[in-house]
């Protein structure tokens, strides 16, 4: 508790220079995080280079809480690939496997049907009403790698936002309390 008192003391006896240094340090942390995230977006070629698996529809391969690394390039989409796609009316992207591909090479168009490994039927129920196939623009990336369990941190912070605020508050306190 002495540590908290010390940090409160340091807030009270604040000098302009100290405040500026603090702001710059904070700015550096934020911008370096942003640089890392944008860099990952660049390398992976996808708008979201990392996704967390939220449902059990791809078990036993991917369980809820696993993290998937995505990559997107111009290579044609082939059956068996695990893709992450957005459906027009849904916010949250879905990670499922491609089971059918019908491609017209001349126009570059492709019709894709997906299905979760653990689901009985294909994903037509999940697509927008009347939509039978996915097109290239629906697909955000292919899963190329995976880390188990690490995504639980995101799920917990998403479902209980109070934990997010607690962590940010603790980090801010640590930042302020370091004297230099």
């Amino acid at each position: 508790m002495k540590w908290i008192r010390e940090s409160l003391d340091s807030i009270r006896s604040v000098k302009i220079r100290h405040v500026l240094t603090l702001l710059i340090r904070f700015g550096l942390i934020v911008t370096s995080t942003l640089i890392i995230w944008k860099g990952l977006m660049c390398i992976s070629g996808s708008a979201s280079p990392i996704v967390v698996v939220l449902s059990g529809s791809m078990e036993p391969g991917f369980k809820r809480g696993d993290i998937l690394f995505l990559h997107m390039n111009d290579n044609p989409i082939r059956a068996g690939e695990i893709v992450v796609f957005n459906v027009d009316e849904r916010e949250i992207p879905i990670v499922h496997r491609v089971i059918k591909v019908h491609e017209r090479e001349e126009t570059g168009e492709v019709d894709v049907l997906t299905k979760g490994d653990n689901n009985f039927g294909d994903d037509r129920l999940l697509y927008a009403p009347g939509q039978l196939w996915l097109q290239k623009h629906h697909i955000m990336g292919r899963a190329i790698g995976f880390l188990p369990y690490v995504g639980w941190a995101t799920i917990i912070m998403f479902e209980k936002p109070i934990i997010k605020y607690v962590i940010i508050g603790a980090l801010a306190l640590l930042l302020i309390s370091s004297k230099e």
Partner: protein, 179 residues
């Protein structure tokens, strides 16, 4: 980056410093571990696999009410992927695709059958199986069409990159009339 020497010399908040060093160290170790585990074995030793798939019986070949061709096949699939399994393999996803070309679509590929394999013992099998998913064309271009059967497999490790392999197996010609 935290200058670790400062932890000992200047008046730094001890907890802050130690926590920072610990986080730094564990992330570096984690990244090193991830990189070494992801190192592909294929470069070191290429496993010998034996796979085979062919059509054993054409069950049904008809035109659906909506105008699309529909085919139901029985397949004879024999697979020996046990040499692909090692200490870091989590599972294999094996699937048989039918590939063909029509005037409308330059490339069609549909999965007819798939299975996930979790251990070395179940990586070797021979079965006669009805296709899990029907072969349905976009349209009715399958009369007399030759389809190619390909056995594919994805290797999924406990953590790290996934790799895809396949082997073209056999061809099958659909009859000129519906049955």
């Amino acid at each position: 980056m935290i200058d670790h020497r400062l932890c000992f010399t200047m008046t730094y908040s001890n907890l802050h410093c130690r926590l920072g060093t610990l986080v730094n160290l564990t992330s570096i170790l984690f990244i090193l571990l991830f990189v070494t585990v992801s190192f592909p074995d294929a470069i070191i030793r290429s496993p010998s696999v034996d796979v085979h798939a062919e059509v054993s019986k054409l069950n049904r070949f008809r035109k659906r009410l909506n105008g699309n061709d529909e085919v139901s096949l029985n397949l004879n699939i024999s697979v020996d992927l046990s040499s692909v399994f090692n200490w870091k393999t989590k599972q294999l996803f094996v699937f048989v695709t039918a590939e063909y070309k029509t005037l409308q679509n330059s490339f069609n590929q549909v999965i007819l059958w798939d299975r996930t394999i979790h251990d070395r013992d179940s990586a070797k099998f021979e079965i006669y199986a009805k296709n899990k998913y029907l072969l349905i064309d976009q349209g009715c271009h399958l009369l007399g069409k030759e389809i190619q059967l390909v056995v594919n497999w994805y290797v999924m490790h406990k953590t790290g990159w996934m790799s895809r392999h396949n082997k073209s197996m056999s061809y099958f010609e659909l009859p000129q009339v519906y049955i």
